[in-house]
């Protein structure tokens, strides 16, 4: 059972109490170990509900969720699941418990009953993994939003999870904070092989994932690599979602007759295509 570090959703539906419409209906997906999956959707699409189902904060009304082989419906497994699937939330202020950074990182370990002498090395290595070591003794309210989110990540990391779920962890940050948090998570994904489920409405973040799931009205509408998903410009727009500017521009150029390749996401890719199609006269 330990070797299975997949996250599986089998035909999952979830309906909030006192609500007729399900927030999620019939969602199935398998997320492989080490994958970086972005879940894209606008507010109220059901993407936050999905996040909470993965951490056993919500239990599916129908279907089941398996985290590393553990079924979230089984009440006695809840702590096992939450230790393996750590979660970062949107508001950086509302998830830090302690008055000193290193004590907040210790919070999860204290809850798990980790012996005290084991805590310090684990705290130190997680703080250094998010490059926050020098703030170990700082009060959280003195930190920037991006730094607070990195402390939250360190708190999860200390619990040695297989999966990190970020529920719009960058929505309240400024561009540089957003970049520093995403880079931190991507490094952890690459170096430690931690599976990342990145819930967001920023298309430029989703563009960096291995795979994108697009959710609207509680269903998965599109799924594929960022290039595959974003090339469907019209469908994305219809769902009120952004596509990268270069993808949109490429689509318009294509519509005007220019034979650009598909799957353009970045400025560099478009520059390459322009060079291919419009060779400079001086070069010849």
């Amino acid at each position: 059972m330990q070797t299975d570090t997949r996250v599986q959703l089998n035909d999952v539906s979830y309906t909030y109490e006192e609500q007729a419409q399900p927030a999620l209906s019939g969602v199935s997906a398998v997320i492989q170990p080490g994958e970086f999956v972005a879940v894209l959707g606008h507010n109220g699409s059901g993407k936050s509900t999905l996040a909470k189902l993965l951490n056993a904060l919500y239990i599916p009304t129908e279907g089941n969720v398996l985290v590393c082989g553990y079924d979230t419906r089984e009440e006695k497994l809840v702590w096992e699941i939450r230790q393996r699937a750590g979660m970062i939330f949107q508001n950086p202020d509302n998830q830090i418990v302690a008055t000193v950074v290193k004590e907040d990182v210790a919070f999860g370990l204290e809850n798990l009953g980790v012996p005290t002498e084991e805590m310090l090395p684990r705290i130190e290595s997680s703080l250094s993994a998010v490059r926050m070591s020098k703030y170990a003794d700082t009060a959280p309210h003195m930190l920037s939003g991006g730094q607070k989110q990195r402390v939250a990540i360190a708190g999860i990391l200390a619990m040695e999870p297989s999966v990190i779920i970020a529920d719009e962890a960058t929505a309240m940050l400024d561009p540089s904070g957003r970049k520093e948090v995403l880079e931190t998570i991507r490094t952890l994904n690459r170096l430690k092989g931690i599976t990342v489920i990145w819930i967001t409405h920023f298309m430029e973040e989703a563009a960096q994932a291995d795979r994108v799931l697009v959710i609207t009205d509680g269903r998965i509408r599109l799924s594929g690599t960022p290039a595959e998903v974003f090339d469907r410009v019209d469908e994305m727009r219809e769902m009120h979602l952004d596509v990268p500017h270069m993808t949109a521009l490429a689509a318009e150029l294509r519509a005007a007759g220019m034979p650009l390749k598909s799957g353009i996401l970045t400025v560099e890719e478009l520059v390459e295509e322009v060079e291919r199609l419009c060779p400079l006269k001086s070069a010849t």
């Binding site: 606008h42 507010n43 109220g44 920037s144 929505a171 309240m172 400024d174 561009p175 540089s176 904070g177 409405h201 298309m203 009120h240 979602l241 952004d242 990268p244 500017h245 270069m246 949109a248 521009l249 318009e252 150029l253 005007a256 220019m258 400025v267 560099e268 478009l270 520059v271 322009v274 060079e275 199609l277 419009c278 060779p279 400079l280 006269k281 001086s282 070069a283």
Partner: protein
């Protein structure tokens, strides 16, 4: 109405060891009907600056002149001036407090001492400006609405005072693309139809590229650039050096130019790039 900021300096915790200079000798002038974007890194002094424009902070030195009158002068009716310069803070939905949307929007006009009829008229006007249907939403509790709708109620609360200048600090922060587009469209209309002068602080270069007709770039409490968006966005090096991006289209333009393509230096809108690239392609295939 015009706003003139001259040699404005602001220090926090004056006279203590924690003294920090948030604004350092800032001067500029805003004319009637402009749409100005203020951009800068967190901590560059933008938020301090906009609070000065509304008289919420007192300058350490320097002046803010509204139609030639010193906002901090001795015989100035600060409350009256403040009402003509509406200020919408970051995450304004967190200041809603009334039982109904209409009552909350009426808070400002009520403080202005207007008659009941006038207040009712203002509430309708403001809800119309932010695209909230009066019949549908006026009597609802603001706390039942979606995040984007709550934000529009909060903006309506400022618009109901009928300010000639509207200042917004990060009006789209935390919203999804749909919520963001609604706010931006609304601001565009307000500027075009109601001729409200708008000063918008934002981190989003794309929002700025779409709306602003003048940009003020701030860094470490100073103004480092002030000009047309196309002038500012063409200076990619300056922008990256103070931790800011330029719109993707401006980057594309710059990169194509370094490759040797013949393009104007100051393109920043996708439409412009589309035309130019198509021209390049047609010229290329012609020979």
């Amino acid at each position: 109405m015009s706003i003139e900021v001259s040699h404005l300096t602001h220090c926090y915790s004056e006279g203590s060891a924690l003294r920090t200079v948030a604004l350092n000798d800032v001067s500029f002038r805003i004319e009637d009907g402009e749409f100005i974007g203020i951009i800068g890194h967190t901590g560059s002094g933008k938020s301090t600056l906009v609070q000065h424009l509304n008289g919420l902070l007192k300058p350490s030195s320097g002046q803010v002149l509204v139609d030639g009158e010193d906002l901090n002068g001795e015989h100035v009716n600060r409350r009256a001036l403040r009402q003509r310069i509406g200020l919408v803070f970051q995450y304004p939905e967190y200041q809603l407090f009334e039982e109904t949307v209409a009552k909350d929007i009426a808070f400002g006009p009520k403080n202005q001492g207007l008659s009941a009829d006038e207040i009712a008229e203002r509430v309708r006007y403001a809800m119309d400006c932010v695209h909230l249907n009066y019949e549908k939403y006026a009597e609802r509790s603001p706390f039942e609405l979606s995040g984007g709708q709550m934000r529009r109620v909060a903006i309506a609360g400022v618009l109901a005072m009928r300010p000639s200048v509207l200042i917004l600090d990060e009006p789209t922060a935390g919203l999804d693309p749909r919520g963001r587009d609604k706010i931006l469209t609304m601001l565009e209309e307000l500027h075009a139809r109601e001729h409200v002068t708008i000063i918008m602080v934002s981190h989003s270069m794309d929002d700025m590229a779409r709306l602003a007709d003048r940009l003020i770039v701030m860094s470490e409490g100073k103004i480092v650039a002030d000009g047309l968006p196309r002038e500012i966005f063409a200076r990619e090096d300056m922008m990256t050096s103070i931790g800011l991006d330029v719109p993707a289209a401006a980057r594309l333009c710059a990169q194509l130019r370094t490759k040797g393509y013949d393009l104007p230096a100051d393109l920043f809108r996708p439409e412009e790039l589309k035309e130019q690239v198509l021209r390049l392609w047609k010229e290329g295939s012609a020979c």
